[in-house]
Each structure stands twice: as structure tokens, then as C-alpha cells.
Symmetry: C2
């Protein structure tokens, strides 16, 4: 797997990427105004970011509370056995389920941290049953119901140039 080196980023690149992490809906004209470049110069930089894979994708973030009740939960999971194949199967199931927002394999006694989105407490409970209780390779899981989301996002802190 050819791991290309991190491309050089000047200060303008960092500012542009930060702006795009906050709001990717701006026009090239706006972005240019913020960083002091012409729209076409901005456009060429953006094309480079996409070509180099710096920008993985561009998504719309929905407001959970506008879709009726929504409950989130953070689930800590420990598998019963550690085989490579069982990990793969678990990961595949997490990836496949649209109610799984995030899934990270972590160090320590817990193997995975999973973030779930459900329509109701009952839905959440059934989801947990389906994802974790039905899997006989799961030793234990603990569900931390989310009362309140203080902050959410996927923004990365960028290295200073």
C-alpha cells in the first residue's frame, strides 16, 4: 500500500481547510476573500486537496432534534475471543448498520467504542439486542445513554504550517 507522504501545506491551505471543515457550502469567491486569493486560485487548491485525498468527502449534517425524538448511545464492547476473523466480522456488522454512527477499536479492557443513533429508547434497546446480544462472541457490553450532546463534529486540528 503506497502511503504517500503528507503534502506540504502552507498557511493558506490550513486556513482554507479549516474554513471547509466549518462550512463547505461557501463559494470560491467567499473563500478567496477570507484568505486573500482569487476564486480561481482557490479552486485550484481545492482540486489539489481532492486529488490528494485530503478531503475525504463532503456531507450534509442533519439536526437530530428536527426529526422527532432521537436518542444517542455510546456502547463499550468487549469480545469473548480475539480471533482476527471474529474482529473482522464484528467490524463488518458495525459498518453495515446505518444506526451505527461510529465504531472505534480501542486499547484497554474494552475492545470497541460504538456510537448508536436510534429513534426511541425502545428502538435503542432493540438495536443493542440485535447488534450485541445476538452475537455470541460478545463477552460484555455497557450502554451509556446520551443525555445531551455538548459538541459534535469530525473536524481535525490541523498542524501549524
Amino acid at each position: 500500500m503506497p502511503e504517500s507522504p503528507p503534502p506540504r501545506l502552507d498557511e493558506i491551505d490550513v486556513r482554507l481547510l479549516d474554513l471547509l471543515q466549518q462550512d463547505a457550502g461557501r463559494t470560491l469567491h467567499d473563500l478567496g476573500g477570507q484568505v486573500g486569493l482569487s476564486p480561481s486560485a482557490v479552486q485550484r487548491r481545492l482540486a489539489r486537496y481532492r486529488r490528494d485525498g485530503l478531503i475525504a468527502r463532503q456531507v450534509a449534517v442533519l439536526d437530530p432534534h428536527r426529526f422527532g425524538p432521537t436518542v444517542l448511545a455510546v456502547v463499550l464492547v468487549t469480545l469473548a475471543r480475539e480471533s482476527f476473523e471474529l474482529h473482522r466480522a464484528f467490524a463488518a456488522r458495525m459498518r453495515a448498520d446505518p444506526q451505527v454512527q461510529q465504531c472505534h477499536r480501542v486499547a484497554g479492557p474494552w475492545d470497541y467504542v460504538v456510537v448508536l443513533a436510534a429513534r426511541s429508547m425502545r428502538d435503542c434497546s432493540r438495536l443493542g439486542d440485535r447488534l450485541f446480544k445476538a452475537d455470541d462472541n460478545i463477552r460484555r457490553y455497557e450502554t451509556l445513554m446520551v443525555f445531551d450532546t455538548v459538541k459534535t463534529g469530525l473536524a481535525l486540528p490541523l498542524p501549524a504550517p
Copy 2:
């Protein structure tokens, strides 16, 4: 606070919103092709989503691995005292720090689940010190270093229409 009722969504709305959650960079023409509408009809629906606040924002998601080493951590936090004011102060600090990706207040023995993004293990350690050790209202915190991100995103499962 006027909590407006969830707007009616037909099947086309759900399909559009799902498409936008996956990739908000498509043209109205493309989206229309996927759902069988003209670009202008799609545009009017999108305008409605934005007006109703269904779409909170539109962001670029960067690929962490293209920016040199990046380490993520999930931190479980319990405050020492429960005063409303102390919770507010903690939440404000989480919101203000760009290295805090997500912060949820949860039920159970832990008060918060926090997701951190850092440039190195050392950076992560210092970040933890700064955010949690320096705060004398934090009783205890536990850091779960992320080995591998199986899935990430903020997509909501939409209710069937």
C-alpha cells in the same frame, strides 16, 4: 423555545436526505436523477430542508491519515461535584477546544464521553493533562486510545415515511 413539530417527509425527502448525508457535493441534476425529479424540484426541497433546519450544516470531512500521524482517543470523565455551573463551565471548555471532536453527557457513573483528536501520543497526553488534570472539578478520567477507526460519520438513520 418554540419547538416546531417534525416536518412531514415523504419517501423522496428521505432518499434525498440520505443521499446528502453520504455526499453533499452532488448537483441538483444528479440528485434529481436518483429520485426521479427535475433539478428545480430538488432545489425547492433542499431550500425547504435548510429553512426548516433539517440540514444543520454542510462540511468537508478530512482524511486524518493524510495529515501525518493522527491519534484519536475516547475519554470517559466523571466530575467531582454536580453543580449546574460546573457542568456549564466544563461543557464550554469542551466546545472551545478544537481538539475536542465530540462531547456527550451520559447516564451512569461516567458523566461525559469525549472524543479527542491529536497529532501524536505525546500531544494527546498533554491535551488530557490540560483538559482534565488541570481542572480540579474532575474526579476521574479514563483514556481509551483508538487503535483503529472501523466507521465514522454523523449520519442519522431516517424514519421510514
